[in-house]
Symmetry: C2
Subunit: 446 residues, 2 copies
C-alpha cells in the first residue's frame, strides 16, 4: 500500500473519443460532435470516477482529413466547459487557450469567467500553437520559438496580473450602505512587454480558488522554462518509466530554477488504455475503429521496425525473415513496444490494434493491465499521475471508472472522493492570486 496517491486527468475532445475514428464505434451517435448533451454526460461519468480534472486540447484550426477522421477538439473549449460546469459540481476543467492567437485580455476574461461560474474549478493550458493552419486563420505565419515563447511569457503574466486586479476583499456588495466595491482595491495592472500589453482591471472578482490553475503540455526546452515558472501540472507524452522520470525531474528542476518548490509541479504521463475482458477483445475493439486508417499506417509501422512493409500484408503477421531482420527504430520511442508485439505473432492490423502508433502508451487487456501499468509507473517515482485518453467515451469512460478506478482505490493508489471543492484543492496546488511574485519581472513591466 502506498501512502501517496496518484492524480488523474482525462483528455476530453470531440464528443467521441481519443481515436480519430472513435466517431464510428458501435453504440456511438455519429453526430455527437455537435451534441453538448453527450459531452456533459461524459463529464458526469468522469466525475463519478473522482477524476481530478478534464483537459481539453485545442488548436484554432481544422487540420484533420475529414474523410475518415473527426476533428480532434471540441466545438470550442471554453463554451464546452461553460456547459459542462452546469452539469457537474466537483470535477476540475482545464482548457487549452492559444497565447499566440488570442489577446491576453480576452483569455483572462473568459478563463476567469469560467472559474467563477464553476466555483473555482477552472484551469488554463497556455499553448504556443505551432500549427501553420492555425496561423493562416489569423492571417499570419508561425513565428520561431523565441518569439512565440517570448509572447507566451508576456501573455501569461498579463493574464495572471489581470486575474489579480481585484484584491481578494475588494467586493463588498452591502445593500445597506449601497457600497458595491472598494474602488481603491480594484486597480489597473498597466503591464506591457515587447508583444502585448493591457491596462485592466478585469471586471471579475476572485473565484473560490482565487484564479485558474495553469498547466503545460509538451514543448521542449522552451516549454520547460514556461512550465517551471507557471504550471501546477505538466502533461508529457512518454513511453518508458525512465523517460517519464526524466521528464518529471526536468519539470521539477525547471520549477526550482524559477524559484518555486519542485513539489508545486505535478507531472502527468499520457495513457491510452485499451480495456476489454481479454487482450484479443481489446485489440478487436481498436481494429474495428481502424478499418479506414490502419492500411495507410502500415508503411510507418515498417519504419518503426526497420522494415519495408506493404499494406497488402495487413492481415498477415511478419514472416520469419522479416522478424529476423526487424530492428526497433532508435528514432521512435514507441518502437520497442511495436517490436515486442510483433514478436508475439500478431498480424500487422492486430499490431496496430495494440495502439503502438498512438500518442501515449496503450496497456491492452482487462482493467488490471491498465491498473498494473499505472501502479508500476507511479511507484517507480516516474509520475505524479496520469492523463488518460479514453478511446470511445460512450462506454470507455464508464469502463475506466467502474473497473480501473476501483482497483486503484483498493490498492490505496487513488482517492475515494474529492478532498475539496476547487481544482486547486484537488491538485493540492499552491494558492496563487495575481502574478506569482517569484516570477514577476520576467517578460512584462509597468
Amino acid at each position: 500500500m502506498s501512502s501517496r496517491r496518484m492524480l488523474l486527468g482525462m483528455q476530453f475532445g470531440n464528443g467521441y473519443g481519443a481515436q480519430v475514428t472513435s466517431w464510428r464505434a458501435p453504440n456511438v451517435d455519429p453526430k455527437n460532435y455537435t451534441d453538448i448533451d453527450a459531452v456533459v454526460r461524459y463529464a458526469q461519468a468522469a466525475e463519478r470516477g473522482k477524476i481530478q480534472f478534464l483537459f481539453l486540447p485545442d488548436t484554432p484550426a481544422l487540420s484533420s482529413d475529414l474523410t475518415h477522421e473527426a476533428p480532434q477538439m471540441t466545438l470550442d473549449p471554453l463554451l464546452t466547459l461553460a456547459a459542462v460546469a452546469r452539469g457537474t459540481s466537483r470535477i476540475g476543467m482545464v482548457a487549452t487557450g492559444s497565447t499566440t492567437f488570442i489577446e491576453p485580455y480576452n483569455l483572462a476574461r473568459q478563463f476567469k469567467a469560467l472559474d467563477v461560474m464553476s466555483h473555482g474549478r477552472a484551469g488554463w493550458n497556455p499553448a504556443t500553437t505551432s500549427d501553420p493552419n492555425a496561423a493562416a486563420n489569423f492571417g499570419q505565419t508561425i513565428a520561431e520559438r523565441p518569439e512565440r515563447y517570448g509572447r507566451a511569457h508576456e501573455v501569461i503574466q498579463i493574464v495572471q496580473a489581470l486575474w489579480g486586479s481585484w484584491e481578494e476583499d475588494a467586493w463588498i456588495a452591502d445593500p445597506t450602505t449601497g457600497i458595491f466595491a472598494d474602488p481603491a482595491k480594484v486597480r489597473p495592472v498597466n503591464l506591457g512587454g515587447q508583444y502585448v500589453s493591457s491596462r485592466g482591471p478585469l471586471p471579475i472578482p476572485p473565484s473560490e480558488q482565487g484564479q485558474p490553475v495553469l498547466f503545460s503540455a509538451g514543448g521542449g526546452e522552451y516549454g520547460l522554462t514556461l512550465a517551471g515558472r507557471y504550471a501546477s501540472g505538466v502533461i508529457g507524452s512518454t513511453f518508458s518509466i525512465d523517460d517519464a522520470r526524466a521528464q518529471r525531474d526536468a519539470a521539477r528542476e525547471a520549477a526550482g530554477a524559477a524559484g518555486r518548490d519542485p513539489d508545486e509541479v505535478k507531472f502527468f504521463a499520457g495513457l491510452m488504455p485499451a480495456i476489454a475482458p481479454t487482450v484479443r477483445d481489446a485489440v478487436e475493439r481498436r481494429m474495428l475503429l481502424g478499418t479506414n486508417t490502419f492500411p495507410q499506417r502500415v508503411p510507418y509501422l515498417g519504419q518503426m521496425l526497420g522494415l519495408r512493409l506493404d499494406p497488402r500484408q495487413i492481415d498477415e503477421p511478419l514472416t520469419a525473415e522479416q522478424l529476423a531482420a526487424a530492428r526497433p527504430s532508435p528514432y521512435d520511442p514507441r518502437a520497442p513496444r511495436a517490436f515486442e508485439v510483433a514478436n508475439q505473432g500478431w498480424t500487422l492490423r492486430e499490431i496496430l490494434g495494440h495502439g503502438v502508433i498512438d500518442y501515449h502508451p496503450t496497456p491492452v487487456g482487462p482493467a488490471s493491465v491498465t491498473a498494473d501499468h499505472m501502479q508500476e509507473w507511479f511507484e517507480a517515482g516516474a509520475v505524479d499521475g496520469f492523463w488518460v485518453s479514453i478511446d470511445t467515451y460512450e462506454d470507455g469512460i464508464d469502463t475506466f471508472v467502474d473497473e480501473v478506478v476501483p482497483l486503484l482505490q483498493e490498492r490505496g493508489l487513488f482517492h475515494e472522493d474529492y478532498e475539496g471543492k476547487t481544482l486547486r484543492d484537488h491538485l493540492g496546488a499552491a494558492p496563487q492570486y495575481g502574478l506569482d511574485p517569484r516570477v514577476s519581472g520576467v517578460g512584462v513591466a509597468h
Copy 2:
C-alpha cells in the same frame, strides 16, 4: 386587434437588472453578479414569457464607478449564454462581440459553437467598441470611425464566410462506410482585406438555423450602413414615436440601399418600464435604488430643464419661479418628458424616479401603462418590436411576463407561443448561410 405581431427582445446584463444600482434592490442577492444559477433562472423567466431573444450588451472594459454601481455586463457574454443554453430550449440568445478587439476567427468559432450548442438560437451584435478603456486593455487607442467601421465590415464578412465554410450537406458521419465528411464540401474561405484576413475552414458544421443572426445597435451613419448590409434586427435608443419611425425608416432604407428587402430588418425601440400597482409605487421602487446616485444627477436634471439645480433641493419640487423659467433642453430628447413630470409637482428625487435620465423611455405605473405605450408605438408603425430593459431581474422579469405579456396577447399584439425552434424562426428572419451574395465584394476579397 392588429394582425401584425410585435417582437420582443430583452436586455440581459449583470445578474441584477438594467439600473446600475439594481444590485441593492430588496430581495436581490447582492452577489448575483457571479451567480450563473440566477442568470439561468432569469432567462427561464423570459422564456416563459415567449420573449423572442435575450440580448447581452458588452464592452471589454470595466468603466463604471464600482463604489455604488455594478459592472453593466455579464462576466462574459458567450460563456454566460453557453450556460443559459443548458437551462432553456426556445429563447434566442444574442451576444455583443467586439469587431475591434476580437479576431474574426475567434468570433466566428465561438458564435457558431454557441449556435450549434443551442440548436440554432444564437445571434451576434458586432460592436465597433468606442470606449477608450477597452482599447487600453488591448494596448491600443480607439481609432477613428472610418477605420473602426472598415475593420468591422471585413470582420463581419470573414465571420459569415467562415460560418459557411462547410456546405450544408458536407457532414455525412456514416459509420457503415466510415465517411465522416465530404472534404470537397469543407473549404477554406481565403478572404482578406485591409485590416484582417483568415483562411479557414472553421471546424463547425451548420446549426439548425444555418448560422447566427446578426444584430446592430446605435452607431449613426456608419452604423446604419453596417445594419443595412448585415443586420436582421436593429436596436435603437429613441424617445418619441416620430423619432422611432424615422430610425426605423432609415434602417429599412439602408437595407434597401444594400440590395436587401427592407422587411428583412426589424427595428426594436428600447424600453425601460417601471411597473407597480400605482404610479407612486413605481416611482418609490426606482427611488429606493437611487439613494446614492440620484443626488449627483440633479445638476444634469437642471440642464435638461434649463435651470441650475442644487442637490440640496432633491426632496422638494420645483418652485413656482423655477417652473415658470423651465424650458426643456433642445439637446436632450428626454427633456420634454422631464418637463412634463416636473409640471406634475413631483420632487426632484421623484422626477428622477420616473426614469427621465434613463437610456430608454420609462412608462411608469401599472402594467397597462407599459402595454399602452407599446401598443401606441407599434400601431403607429414606429417599431417592429421592443428591446425591454428590466430594472430588477429578480422580480421584474416575472412582473413583465405575468402582467404585460398577457395584456399584449389579449390585444392580439404578441404571439402566444414560439412559432418555431430557432432564432431565425422567432424573428421571421431570412435564411442565410455563409456570406450574403448581395453584399459580398465589399470589404474583403480573395
